[in-house]
């Protein structure tokens, strides 16, 4: 009798200890940039399937849509923190949303980990907001180095999506670096959702560029490449991480063959064991090639879990003190060092930015292939 009671007591104690940890995921699942949200969510879901518990506690993901709107981006973060009582937030995708949501997270002392917001301002001056991706000055510099040194380009035309802060920022950083490396550059603008770029391309061709650098996202980039090739452009086409999506190839077709873009990972480049595992799992579950956004979402989840595990191991009872848990977690995320994620070895510095190499991919035979790797020290800052 006594024995059973003791056993029951132990069982209860274990149950009490094994709490459910809630993690908020705030993404644009609908609206203008919902594609990014949905791709990121695939990676997060996958990682959650792979690692559904941390230190014996179940992790519950709460997905909140922000309809690609700023108002909602901020509201959803507030809701996750106050209503859902989440320990941490994964998100958001677009830098402008991360800025709106990040302000709320910072105010409420809740860690927020963005998978793919590359604008430097997102983490600037904040203690609780971090990211697992590199920042734009870094990426723009790497792309300029690749264009000038590896492709020997002297002239570049940059296609800027005037509606995307990401694109405008990246353009700015690329131009600065490219000019520093002795190149000449010119800019043309387009708008998100544009379908016809023949006018800009005709203008660009008059400049006779060695390289066309597209700083926007893949839907337009695929069309720009197609139309540029149709209009007889023979030079290089390059882009940033916004180009990485299987649709670049399916929409762009032959036109994107030989296109280079900077990105976060490639199976061949940063051969961590996790990369292979991620690719295999992703292809099994979604029956398609993984996307960079998916990989970043995947890494964001894992880095969060990694930090959580450390916090919980040091102090298992912290589960019961939400605010202490959040504070400790925010600090721990910034202690991440050489974490082996799907996108390579990731270190998060004390400002909350990830330090990692930039990978350059090339489209070859209708597939993304590894082309080069640019390390942080190569970039003129």
């Amino acid at each position: 009798m006594k024995k059973t009671l003791v056993l029951l007591g132990i069982a209860f104690a274990i149950m009490a200890m094994a709490a459910t940890i809630k993690v908020g995921v705030v993404l644009p699942m609908t609206g203008g940039i919902s594609a990014f949200g949905q791709l990121t969510w695939e990676g997060i879901e996958l990682a959650h399937e792979m690692m559904p518990t941390v230190a014996g506690n179940e992790v519950k993901l709460i997905l909140l849509d922000n309809r690609s709107e700023k108002t909602e981006a901020a509201n959803a973060v507030a809701r996750a923190i106050d209503k859902e009582k989440v320990v941490a937030i994964l998100g958001e995708v677009a830098s402008s949303h991360s800025l709106a949501g990040g302000a709320v997270a910072e105010e409420k002392h809740t860690p927020m980990l963005s998978p793919s917001s590359t604008n430097p301002l997102v983490t600037q001056g904040k203690k609780y907001v971090s990211r697992v991706c590199f920042i734009d000055p870094f990426q723009g510099g790497a792309a300029a180095v690749f264009a000038a040194k590896k492709l020997n380009a002297k002239t570049a035309v940059i296609f800027t999506d005037i509606q995307q802060d990401y694109s405008v920022g990246l353009t700015n950083f690329f131009m600065k670096a490219f000019k520093k490396l002795g190149g000449r550059a010119m800019q043309v603008f387009y708008n998100t959702g544009d379908q016809d770029f023949t006018a800009q391309i005709s203008t660009a061709l008059a400049f006779n560029p060695d390289v066309i650098f597209i700083t926007g996202y893949y839907p337009e980039a695929a069309l720009i490449s197609r139309q540029a090739r149709q209009l007889g452009y023979k030079g290089y086409i390059m882009g940033g991480d916004g180009l990485e999506a299987p649709e670049l190839i399916s929409i762009g077709g032959k036109a994107v063959e030989g296109l280079y873009f900077t990105t976060h990972f490639h199976a061949k480049a940063a051969a961590t064991p996790m990369t292979k595992k991620f690719v295999a799992m992703y292809e099994k579950k979604f029956k398609k090639e993984p996307s960079a956004l998916g990989a970043l979402g995947f890494d964001a989840y894992l880095i969060l879990m990694n930090a959580m595990e450390k916090v919980l191991k040091a102090n298992p009872d912290i589960v019961n003190n939400l605010q202490a848990f959040r504070d400790a977690l925010a600090k721990e995320i910034r202690n991440t060092k050489d974490f082996e994620g799907a996108t390579g070895k990731i270190t998060i510095d004390k400002n909350g930015n990830a330090i990692k190499s930039v990978v350059v991919d090339v489209v070859k035979n209708g597939k993304f292939d590894f082309a080069a790797i640019i390390n942080p020290d190569e970039i003129p800052m």
């Binding site: 594609a35 005037i162 043309v188 387009y190 544009d194 379908q195 023949t198 800009q200 649709e247 929409i251």
Partner: protein, 302 residues
């Protein structure tokens, strides 16, 4: 590229874009012509039509032509249904109510597409492969012109002619014109007004799907919000040309296509303002000739 070739190239680019605008605008203008309703959902019907084609081709591996026919028929049915469910109950309501409902319908179709098809863009090119003859490029005086451009221009002309015949030479066309003037009296003539309006919606929506497919062949990127901007521009084209007038829609579409392409080509620094051009033209036209280039002036009876 020399100036002549540059101009020729842009000329055909403009014809292509303008032709596509015109095709979408014709559907807009027909519905407006008879109901005085700005069917904000028109661009979204076009989007649905493209999805119909995409899924018919992907799931049933149907040949492109079959997929196109299914899409056109599906969109026609959808247009008819939308009219029955959302617009018909509001026939006698203030026009503003119908306009607001149309905005709601546009939201609805977009979010329906997000939920049902996902927001990740789908590559339309999977159906109409790169090797399709339409994507072949013709050299013309140094300019490179895809065959599709000629098809769009040809189809715009054909559709315009067919519509002209329907509206001016058939009984149902006469009924459509009568409805645009006076609905109850048309009903008194023994004409099933809702039937004729439904037919107009179906026809306009079928046109939207047809132009949507061509749009997707040119810009092979299918996503739930793809209808918004073309829809908006086509609407502007319809107003600029004279809303309610089919030749006006064609003129307006071409004009818009020309201005957009040529402004961006010859003033590349202005390309960020590209969408603003459309609105500036719209406002200028509304200021100086509110009934549009080919529209008839209507005098308010006092």
């Amino acid at each position: 590229m020399n100036q002549g070739v540059f101009f020729l190239q842009n000329l055909f680019n403009a014809l292509m874009l303008g032709g596509l605008y015109a095709l979408i605008a014709v559907g807009y203008t027909m519905v407006y012509g008879i109901l005085r309703l700005i069917n904000f959902a028109h661009g979204d019907i076009m989007m649905m039509g493209v999805y119909f084609a995409f899924y018919t081709a992907v799931i049933f591996s149907a040949p492109p032509l079959v997929a196109a026919i299914v899409a056109v028929a599906g969109a026609a049915g959808l247009g008819f249904l939308i009219d029955r469910i959302a617009y018909k109950p509001l026939r006698n309501a203030p026009r503003i109510s119908a306009l607001i409902t149309a905005i709601g319908m546009s939201f609805f179709l977009e979010s329906f597409a997000v939920v049902a098809f996902g927001a990740v863009p789908k590559p339309f090119i999977q159906i109409f492969k790169d090797k399709t003859i339409l994507n072949k490029v013709v050299m013309l005086g140094g300019a490179r012109i895809p065959l599709l451009t000629f098809l769009v221009i040809l189809l715009t002309l054909v559709i315009f002619a067919v519509l002209f015949l329907i509206v001016y030479k058939t009984k149902i066309g006469m009924a459509m014109r009568a409805i645009s003037m006076d609905i109850p009296t048309t009903a008194l003539m023994g004409i099933n007004v809702d039937g004729v309006i439904g037919f107009t919606f179906a026809l306009g929506s079928a046109l939207a799907a047809a132009s949507g497919i061509m749009w997707a062949m040119r810009y092979p990127n299918v996503y739930p919000y793809m209808g918004f901007m073309p829809g908006m521009k086509a609407f502007i084209a319809a107003v600029v040309g004279g809303i309610g007038s089919i030749p006006g829609a064609v003129v307006g579409g071409l004009l818009l296509g020309f201005i957009e392409i040529f402004m961006v080509s010859y003033f590349p620094t202005m390309s960020g303002y590209r969408d603003a051009f459309a609105f500036i033209i719209l406002i200028l036209i509304l200021m100086f000739k509110p009934s549009g280039i080919l529209g008839k002036k209507s005098v308010e009876k006092v």
